[in-house]
């Protein structure tokens, strides 16, 4: 009776034709990490991070990525709400546009930003003439580039949470006398809180690591637009120790974000 042994199929060793490529795949991720950690100057790590150019890059990165995340929250949460709750013509198109930066090569995003917000760009000219604001090659420009690339991560996470939540909680709140803003603040937001945190963390991590759009649109000016990833790239030429130290910082941040999201992204 061979069919009686069917549950035992699970205990057979997996086929080698799958195991070998799987193991190679893991190596592909592990080897670069080993390379980085093995060359890390652990004893002088904090000295490397203490150099003025490294400190400037660290501070600038922190300021830019936090500003970008705040802007993404202020604009992205309402946007996610509209995408999730308002039925309007062209909603799918708007959602596709919002998510485009996730798949667009960042350097293309940078070129597009430059053409729109650059000194010759239609929006840039308007900003310059009316408000005297110039974005290219400024810290504000770096923030704009990071927001452009990172905000979709927040929008997509929050929108999914809004779609997934039981809207009858909002109905119950309304029958209890809560107006629409009160419902959003006191019921909707607390219910999607874990997703909001996850989306914010993802958005911030993406902003912190932004390279292509920033260097294309905002340039590489130390103290103004040279964020950590740019500093790593530049330092690798003649100060590899600094580059490695900054890379380790970015790696630790990435790991921290991953741990923060573990409940959501790798449950059990």
């Amino acid at each position: 009776m061979q069919t009686d042994h069917r549950p035992g199929i699970r205990h057979r060793p997996p086929p080698r034709t799958l195991l070998v490529p799987a193991a190679l795949g893991v190596l592909l991720f592990v080897l670069p990490l080993v390379g980085l950690l093995q060359r890390t100057p652990w004893s002088s790590l904090f000295d490397e991070l203490g150099t003025s150019s490294a400190r400037t890059a660290l501070r600038l990165s922190l300021v830019c990525s936090i500003c970008a995340t705040v802007i993404a929250l202020v604009l992205g949460v309402p946007l996610a709400w509209v995408l999730a709750r308002v039925d309007f013509a062209g909603r799918r198109l708007v959602r596709a546009l919002v998510l485009l930066p996730m798949v667009l090569p960042p350097v293309v995003g940078g070129v597009a930003l430059l053409l729109a917000f650059g000194r010759r760009g239609f929006a840039g000219q308007w900003l310059d003439q009316w408000f005297g604001i110039r974005l290219p090659f400024t810290t504000a420009g770096a923030i704009l580039a990071e927001t452009f690339v990172a905000m979709p991560f927040l929008v997509i996470t929050v929108e999914a949470a809004l779609r997934g939540m039981d809207r009858r909680y909002e109905d119950a709140a309304a029958t209890l006398g809560a107006g629409r803003l009160a419902v959003f603040r006191r019921v909707t937001l607390p219910l999607i809180w874990p997703s909001l945190i996850a989306g914010t963390a993802l958005c911030w991590a993406r902003a912190l690591g932004e390279f292509g759009a920033t260097i294309t649109f905002a340039g590489n000016l130390e103290g103004k637009t040279q964020t950590m990833p740019l500093a790593v790239y530049i330092a690798l030429q003649d100060q590899p120790e600094t580059a490695i130290a900054l890379s380790v910082v970015l790696l630790v941040v990435a790991l921290t974000v991953l741990v923060t999201l573990r409940e959501r992204w790798w449950p059990a």
Binding site: D166, R168, Y169, D171, A172, A173, A174, T175, L176, G177, A178, G179, A182, R186, V187, P190, L191, W193
Partner: protein
């Protein structure tokens, strides 16, 4: 005296291929039970009154104030309607404690935090939740406790109408019985119209002053439980409300019925105040006094014979008035007709007895 109609709802809702077209009136003095099978439109009717669903046609007014009238483009948002609503799955906010759930509505109305919590405590005490439960999150409460919190949450804002959507369906039998008793007390004490949606006929019978039967989005029958039981107009009504229901007092296997007469149960418990359900199919009619097992036997007179085609409902008077359901063949065999004397028997094992 003609009771003033307090809630008046002509409900026309069309969405996703479903059409609700039903009129529903309720005075401040009554509990109206909306009874119907799943998908009949009961919850949609409540949602329209609460304002979470908009009418496509019709009109909803409460004491002359129009809530929804598509013809004049009048619509009052749910937060301004002052309705209290209870849901089958409670919908307590999972991030708030029981007390804060109850205080929610008061806080939305601008009541200060301390005052709101104090009134929430009082309201929770009235529904019988202890201090420990008041601090618990909804996930830490039992189903019955959670529904009590939901009731307190709905009542504390002093709503003008109370809407209950399958309030007991998610509970186990014992909890349901306890809560049903408390619920009917709270419903009776409430100073406005009460509308209860249910698909449970026993619940409907016990809570209703008036029943509205909804099938496929249309009202099929309206009346008191007694009226519906005596003259069910549809198959569904006959099936779910066409049962014999008595209140009485049980003692050592015998139930003294409130309206006179006595029934013998198959078991010795429960005892005390009970509700007795006798399915019409469990009632047998005989031309002569039957012998053998049935212990509930008495002579009766046929009051009315209602031919429904493949089955016949017979109203019998006697010490215990009953409705019997027999086959058309039995009618012919027994030569049943109005005013005919008969013997009635009920098998003790087919009687359902619940503590009231």
């Amino acid at each position: 005296m003609v009771a003033r109609v307090s809630l008046h709802a002509e409900l026309g809702v069309r969405r996703n291929g479903f059409t609700l077209d039903a009129n529903l009136d309720a005075t401040a003095e009554e509990t109206v039970v909306l009874l119907g099978p799943n998908g009949a439109g009961k919850s949609t009717a409540l949602a329209a009154i609460a304002g979470t669903v908009t009418l496509t046609a019709g009109r909803i007014t409460l004491d002359g104030e129009t809530f929804d009238d598509p013809a004049t483009k009048t619509w009052v948002p749910p937060e301004q309607r002052a309705v209290g609503m209870l849901f089958q799955d409670t919908l307590l906010f999972p991030h708030l404690s029981a007390t804060d759930n109850v205080a929610f509505g008061l806080r939305c109305r601008g009541v200060a935090r301390a005052d709101a919590r104090r009134r929430a405590h009082q309201s929770l005490e009235r529904v019988g939740l202890d201090a420990h439960g008041q601090q618990a999150k909804p996930s830490e409460l039992s189903g019955g406790q959670a529904q009590r919190v939901a009731l307190a949450r709905a009542l504390v804002t002093a709503p003008r109408v109370l809407l209950l959507d399958e309030p007991l369906s998610a509970l186990d039998a014992t909890t349901r019985r306890d809560l049903r008793r408390d619920l009917s007390r709270h419903l009776a004490a409430f100073a406005g119209p009460r509308i209860v949606v249910t698909h449970d006929p026993l619940e409907a019978m016990l809570l209703a002053d008036r029943l509205v039967v909804l099938e496929d989005g249309v009202v099929r029958q309206v009346g008191t439980p007694a009226e519906l039981r005596a003259r069910p107009r549809t198959r569904y009504v006959a099936d779910v409300v066409g049962m014999n229901l008595f209140r009485g007092r049980a003692d050592r296997g015998r139930v003294a019925l409130a309206g006179g007469g006595e029934l013998i149960m198959a078991a010795t418990d429960p005892s005390g105040e009970v509700v007795v359900v006798v399915p019409p199919r469990a009632v047998a009619l005989h031309r002569r006094q039957p012998e053998g097992t049935p212990r509930n036997v008495w002579p009766g007179t046929i009051e009315h014979v209602d031919d429904e085609g493949d089955r016949v409902r017979v109203q019998v008077t006697g010490p215990v008035p009953l409705i019997a359901e027999v086959t058309a063949a039995a009618v012919a065999e027994l030569r049943l007709h109005d005013r005919a004397p008969e013997w009635v028997s009920v098998k003790a094992t087919e009687i359902d007895v619940f503590p009231a």
